[in-house]
Point group: C2
Chain length 357, copies 2
């Protein structure tokens, strides 16, 4: 059996690439083979500043990374508008694809990327890091408990990050609100997490309808900086999300069941709360009417756990002990499909969009 | 000008009557004239235990209170199924009506009560106490600020009180889940507050549709102990509520605007939070990305403020300086109409009910 680590190549020098290169370097079973930027100078300066080991290959083009035969996986943190071109090229070079969210500007683009992966037999996964935190698995476990949580009724996601507070000038110059680079703005960035959270809680059961909330905000270029939507299912379930680059920091996923409510604060937080059915404890304590707080600790950051999971999938494919896990493509498609529907509803004055499964 | 206080009579010896009799006694401009129960003994024992002054008349029947010409206002904390009969009788005796929520079992019943009040020229108000807390007015002020809050997008109400934890045996013997007395169960009790909160936040603009959440719970007698619903407006606004007699205590009203989020914990709490648009403060502090916490204190409890407001309305009518304020009947009707729609949706397997304005 081949115990060689899975070798990653990175396309572009985005901020997030620094965090991810550290994760790749820290993950057993993974190694960093290469980084490529549009200019050699930029790639070299990134490698220096990120403290990459000297054996990491530095390329002055994305093609350099794709043509490197020692690269197994390409991690793509490029602006969203470049995903289609480079993800398809990477797949055609038989590289497995780990791609930043949103993976595409629209479901049709994503379908092209995923088809390329399927045709070439490579693994696809988008970088929704919170899914790999052990808190997520623990919450799901409780979510599945009829006694503790009951039947899912509502999901509410809020994801606000005041970008201007973090970097004044954000709305004029940042890539995340550039119509040429990240045309989906806050919807693609923060909304992606929220919609994924809603789908995750609903076992990826697509809603029947999507309706944008009123009051969407745009940059002068028409890029969304604040928006939200409601989702309904035929059985009465409902979900909403709201995301903003303007409002004070507020990140939360709240899940309502008919036996209890789960509240997950933060996106990489370790804690969550369960407001469950009060349980009779013992004669002294009696009924416990209080919220239960959980803390699910992880020794390594969630992005490392994502790299670990992806590497282990790719290792299985390489060794023949595993096959492509299509789950990640399926849930990416559904997330992107709902994102499309939200955008369409916004464009049509908050009209209700029916979703086809 | 007549400076005599407005004289209250109370029908029945419900728990809440103790709190309210204290409020009436403590409120300038109001006085407690009488209390009546089905048996004189019960009324006397209530008067003794509540420490009512000796000049409060004690009647062994509800009729006694209604026939007392020195009673201006009748406060009705009877079980909901008795409201129709006694509210109408009280109105016909030209008593102003302050009635516990839910004021009726269905909108049709409430219409009969309100018509009786209108015909007899008496003031109607239901006892939704949180509306009279100064926090409510302050939140509304912010809600109306385009800068601080923006356009209203979503409202989420949750109201869970684990009754079994408070009184074991609740589900078998309590009046609040008795099909003969309070047939609306948790929907009438906790749901009333939630639906009112949703309407209040939306300036009493009725939604276009109401859909019950799945997973409604009932007693063996078919009384609702846990339920919820989603509401939608044609412009994309959405609201949800969830209420339960089972789950851990969790009382909250959350309002989303496209500039900020307001969070009101508790029903008579003084605090609330605003997650607003981050505001540039000064060169030293820079942008403030943090939630703002408000504390709106009140010298007297909200129920006293309600008694004060009601007395002052009645005083205006008595003196000819004011007229009947129909606002309270209008919002009670709308609340009851939505409550009916939730109940109907539950009975029809969470079908969506269209609301006629």
């Amino acid at each position: 059996m081949n115990n060689e680590p899975i070798r990653f190549g990175i396309l572009g020098c985005a901020n997030i690439a620094r965090k991810m290169s550290a994760s790749i370097l820290a993950t057993p079973g993974a190694s960093l083979r290469a980084i490529g930027s549009r200019s050699l100078e930029k790639a070299q300066s990134f490698a220096r500043e990120a403290g990459l080991p000297v054996d990491v290959k530095v390329y002055g083009s994305y093609e350099g990374v794709l043509s490197d035969e020692k690269v197994d996986v390409v991690y793509i943190p490029l602006p969203t508008s470049l995903h289609l071109e480079w993800a398809v090229k990477a797949a055609e070079k038989k590289k497995h694809i780990l791609i930043e969210k949103p993976p595409a500007l629209a479901a049709e683009e994503l379908n092209t990327i995923i088809s390329a992966c399927e045709n070439m037999g490579v693994q696809f996964m988008d970088c929704t890091m919170w899914m790999h935190h052990p808190r997520t698995a623990k919450v799901k476990e409780i979510l599945k408990s009829k006694e503790l949580f009951g039947d899912l009724q509502e999901v509410h996601a809020i994801f606000c990050v005041p970008m201007q507070a973090k970097s004044p000038g954000f709305f004029v110059e940042n890539i995340r609100v550039s119509p040429q680079l990240d045309a989906l703005g806050a919807l693609g960035d923060l909304g992606w997490y929220s919609i994924r959270g809603i789908l995750w809680a609903n076992d990826y059961d697509l809603p029947a309808s999507v309706t944008a909330l009123p009051g969407t905000k745009f940059t002068t270029d028409g890029v969304i900086t604040s928006c939200g939507a409601s989702f309904t299912w035929k059985d009465g379930r409902v979900a909403t999300f709201s995301c903003s680059f303007h409002a004070d920091k507020n990140v939360r996923l709240v899940l309502y069941g008919n036996n209890g409510t789960l509240e997950m604060p933060g996106i990489d937080a370790e804690e969550f709360k369960l407001y469950g059915v009060s349980i009779f404890q013992d004669m002294d304590i009696g009924w416990s009417p209080d919220v239960t707080e959980f803390h699910i600790k992880t020794d390594v950051p969630q992005e490392n756990l994502m790299v670990q999971r992806f590497s282990s999938l790719v290792k299985g494919i390489r060794d023949g002990s595993g096959v492509i896990d299509t789950h990640w493509a399926v849930i990416a498609r559904k997330t992107q499909q709902l994102l499309d529907a939200v955008k369409l509803s916004i464009e049509h004055g908050c009209s209700t969009m029916c979703i086809e499964a």
